[in-house]
């Protein structure tokens, strides 16, 4: 009996079972966090369906309490004007974990094929209700309706209902609606913060949000300029490890090792390919699938230590750009001063990345004891684990007094990292790791915007001082003019006043005083 009781039973878990048990890994750890995470996943899918395709996003998010009796059941509906989903793909896109159109080397917000399904799965677990999807692609003649659940055991979609409607307007896009248990009170500020920060990084989007209390918030579209769309790229040899190399060798349609290296990778031409092959002790015309484990290991090692391979190109990266960052910060924060910088592409471990930094100062920004940091990775706002993020580390280590800022000060710093592979810390995708190359770029970017702030502040100070000096003189013009006109015959007060003001204005560099009455409002 004892032996039977202790015997181990082996079986495989489907992805849906795995994530059903480990939902906190995907951010669905408690009702508050789950509500926030669901909003976020659906909004990011909506954005992924629009801006990379040149469509100005219009997104409507509605969060409602389902019944008056139950305080913790909500419906989420997110509508976009994106490219839509081909009807054949809808069931798997929402009913099968690890199913995605984003498994290519291209910079997008989503990339794991998990987000929408985790929301569906969590909703299903907590309310028993399935997801409803309404979608139409740009070229489709119909609008499709689906009611889908996930079969957790088999990780396959169950279609409860399907409808097809004739499309008689040009609508395209997707509406996703699902039900889940949540905690609005405890997630409210995070959800608002998330939408605000999304609006900052994507000011070309228009976002409407109706919250469970019926409050409607409208984030207006403040520019029509959009970032360059991301493009799919071949991997760079330095970003490929042994396992990936083996998979690529197995999957390739090329006939020789030489051709494989040239065609499947970026930055590799014939000269480079031959050098790598020779240094690895291999032969150019070996068949790709004939390489032994040791051959692959040697090839990867040679690639890693080769110093002459061209760095990865960054053409495929979709950075936001200085203009849009400035527009976003200005529209949402209403600061007195705003600036942004997009750094030149850089590389870490074979992955190209671009760091952008924005800075907003003064105006309606509330003074805080340290700079407020808005972190983004591939246009996604990162709200959690700020303390562990490399950007926070950089911001905190900068001596801001050097840039003319003394705290408390109204200062917001935005840091955006875009890359086909953002070096997240852990699986939470909430903070960026201390990769030296990335850290260095962040520091250069922040120092650049900080220098611009310093220039602005000292110019402003100079101007304020000049204004003070000018007023210190102008306020006495009427008394001097009147006094002189009284003593000296045949000169009019106005004449002297005019001449004195003219002389004063000639000395001023940053502004002019139009009339003495702009300064002197009364003499009593």
């Amino acid at each position: 009996m004892a032996s039977e009781a202790t015997a181990e039973k082996f079986r495989a878990l489907t992805p849906s079972e795995f994530f059903y048990r480990n939902r906190e890994l995907a951010g669905f750890s408690n009702p508050a966090r789950a509500l926030y995470q669901a909003v976020r996943e659906l909004v990011e899918n909506a954005l992924d369906a629009t801006d990379p395709h040149g469509i100005h996003p219009t997104i409507k998010v509605i969060l409602q309490k389902v019944s008056a009796e139950r305080d913790n059941i909500f419906s989420i509906s997110v509508e976009d004007n994106g490219i839509g989903i081909p009807s054949a793909q809808v069931p798997r896109a929402f009913g099968q974990l690890l199913y995605s159109s984003k498994y290519v080397l291209r910079q997008t917000r989503g990339m794991f094929g998990l987000g929408a399904k985790m929301a569906v799965l969590y909703g299903q677990m907590t309310t028993g209700r399935s997801v409803e999807v309404l979608t139409s692609t740009i070229t489709a003649k119909n609008i499709y309706y689906f009611n889908i659940a996930i079969d957790v055991k088999t990780n396959t979609p169950i279609i409860h209902e399907k409808g097809v409607y004739r499309k008689n307007n040009g609508w395209h896009g997707t509406v996703v609606k699902l039900y889940l248990e949540g905690d609005w009170t405890r997630s409210k500020s995070k959800i608002y913060e998330y939408l605000k920060r999304t609006a900052i990084i994507a000011p070309y989007a228009e976002i409407v949000f109706e919250d469970p209390e019926g409050t409607i918030t409208y984030f207006e579209r403040s520019t029509r300029k959009m970032p360059p769309p991301p493009r799919e790229v071949k991997p760079h040899p330095k970003g490929v490890d042994i396992e990936m190399m083996r998979m690529m060798l197995k999957a390739t349609k090329t006939k020789t090792l030489l051709e494989f290296l040239i065609k499947e990778f970026q930055s590799v031409g014939e000269v480079t390919a031959r050098r790598l092959i020779e240094n690895a002790g291999l032969l150019p015309d070996m068949k790709p699938h004939e390489l032994s484990t040791e051959d692959v290991e040697r090839l990867v090692r040679v690639i890693k230590s080769d110093t002459k391979i061209k760095p990865p190109s960054a053409n495929h990266l979709s950075y936001v750009g200085e203009e849009i960052i400035k527009v976003g910060l200005k529209a949402i924060l209403k600061p007195e001063f705003v600036t942004a910088v997009t750094r030149k592409p850089s590389v870490y471990e074979g992955h190209a990345f671009i760091v952008e930094a924005g800075l907003a100062y003064g105006g309606e920004i509330q003074p805080e004891d340290r700079p407020v940091l808005y972190r983004y990775a591939n246009k996604i706002p990162l709200l959690y684990d700020e303390g562990a993020d490399v950007a926070r580390k950089v911001v905190d280590r900068i001596d801001w007094s050097h840039y003319g800022v003394t705290f408390p000060a109204p200062l917001v710093i935005l840091v955006h990292i875009c890359s086909t592979k953002v070096p997240y810390k852990g699986v939470g995708k909430e903070s960026v790791a201390d990769v030296p190359e990335v850290e260095h770029e962040i520091e250069l970017a922040i120092r650049e915007v900080a220098r611009r702030l310093k220039r602005y502040l000292s110019k402003k100070k100079r101007e304020r001082e000049e204004a003070e000096r000018a007023v210190a003189i102008a306020k006495y013009i009427p008394d001097v003019a009147r006094g002189l006109a009284k003593i000296v015959n045949n000169v009019r007060e106005e004449m002297i006043e005019k001449e004195l003001l003219k002389m004063l204005n000639m000395k001023l560099r940053s502004f002019k005083i139009n009339s003495v009455s702009d300064v002197v409002v009364g003499i009593e």
Binding site: E463, R464, A467, E468, R469, A470, V471, A472, I473, A474, K475, Y476, P478, D479, V480, R482, G483, L484, K486, I487, V488, N489, V491, M495, I496, E499, L500, K502, M503, L504, K507, F511, I513, D518, V519, V520, V521, G522, I523, E524
Partner: protein
């Protein structure tokens, strides 16, 4: 109805003075207006009223203002206010002269004081500022104006409180009246703020005694000192005002009377004497008219108190009297004495002796100590003896 004419009630000297003052003010400020209208930065160039710019003219024995000037440009933020204040005070004085008025420096302060409400362009807030807050400020620009147009304020018919008094066998004409200074009863004639307009008629006196303390002046007056010794008796009642100094100067210049000065035996008394004799540092530009270089320091001297073996002089006070009357010098007294020692006009053998005794003994004495010893002693022994024997410091 009677015809009212202000002119007929005013003395002729005043009318003349007004014309002259008006012309001087107009000349100085016309130049400024001309500069402004031709686009030149309006700048007032005024000689500095500082110790560094005070020169002791050893030959004439008086202080004079040096040639160092300060430029006050209206287009300099740090100088604009003083510039405005100078123009303001000039225009008020100008107006008063035209209207036949006799403002006091206090009147001028009030007439010029008003509030400027202005907008701070950097913040947009409206703020307020007074043309001046304290009389100190308007007094200071009055002095600047005096230097600028080289005229004393009395010549511009600006009055101040009368402080100095005089009695003696003498007749003067003030305004249109003849005043007999020997018929003042127990009172005395208050020296008017514009002593230049006084006319000396006749005098029967051999010397002038100027006393720092009003109380001692009154005692000597009532005791008949001036009658008995043929003196003109004057008190400055502390620091002398300009009228008293000018009056004393004229007595010396025009009547050739020797001037003796009696003060407390301390650095303040010495400085009062020095103001009469060479002029004051802050008003050195006035010394030309106010200082009396021939004035003599009669006492009370340190040697009067302590005696001097070297000069073979016995003290006027006994050991016991010294004990009773001497007051211990304070730290400020000592500091002041050291300052005086550095002034050129105090660097004579006799004065250095005085100051050194003071610094050694750290003792001072009031004139009242001598009347305590006995009014008769002061009147009939101390003063006449010292004058007769030439026991003064020149």
């Amino acid at each position: 109805m009677r015809e009212v004419s202000t002119v007929s009630y005013m003395s002729a000297v005043d009318i003349k003075a007004r014309k002259k003052a008006l012309k001087k003010i107009e000349r100085a400020f016309s130049k400024l207006v001309k500069d402004i209208l031709s686009g030149k930065t309006p700048t007032l160039v005024i000689r500095k009223r500082t110790l560094a710019n005070t020169v002791f003219d050893a030959e004439r024995g008086l202080l004079r203002i040096g040639n160092a000037t300060l430029k006050r440009s209206f287009l300099n933020a740090g100088e604009a206010k003083k510039f405005m204040q100078t123009v303001l005070i000039a225009s008020i004085i100008h107006e008063a002269l035209k209207n036949d008025e006799y403002p006091t420096i206090r009147d001028l302060y009030y007439r010029g004081k008003h509030t400027i409400r202005f907008r701070d362009l950097a913040t947009g807030r409206v703020r307020e500022e007074n043309t001046w807050d304290e009389q100190k400020e308007s007094d200071s620009v009055i002095r600047d104006l005096e230097v600028l147009i080289d005229m004393l304020r009395e010549e511009m018919l600006i009055l101040s409180k009368e402080k100095g008094k005089v009695v003696g066998d003498m007749r003067i004409k003030s305004g249109d009246d003849i005043i007999d200074l020997s018929k003042m009863g127990h009172g005395a004639y208050s020296i008017e703020p514009t002593p230049d307009f006084i006319e000396f008629k006749d005098v029967n006196a051999e010397f002038v005694l100027v006393i720092e303390k009003d109380a001692v002046f009154q005692q000597l007056h009532r005791a008949g000192f001036w009658k008995k010794y043929k003196a003109l008796l004057i008190t400055s009642a502390g620091q002398p005002d300009r009228a008293t100094r000018r009056f004393v100067r004229r007595l010396s210049d025009e009547l050739g009377l020797p001037i003796y000065i009696l003060t407390d035996a301390d650095p303040y008394g010495w400085y009062i004497y020095s103001v009469f004799k060479v002029g004051s540092i802050t008003l050195s530009y006035e010394s030309e008219r106010l200082a009396t270089p021939s004035a003599r320091f009669l006492g009370v001297s340190m040697i009067d108190i302590f005696g001097s073996d070297k000069l073979k002089k016995k003290p006027y006070l006994t050991e016991a009297e010294r004990k009773n009357y001497i007051i211990k010098a304070t730290d400020t007294d000592i500091k002041r004495a050291k300052e005086l020692k550095s002034y050129e006009w105090f660097r004579t053998k006799r004065w250095l002796e005085e100051i050194n005794i003071f610094l050694k003994k750290k003792a001072k004495l009031e004139i009242e100590a001598l009347t305590s010893k006995g009014l008769r002693f002061l009147m009939d022994t101390y003063i006449p003896e010292k004058i007769e024997t030439g026991d003064w410091i020149a």
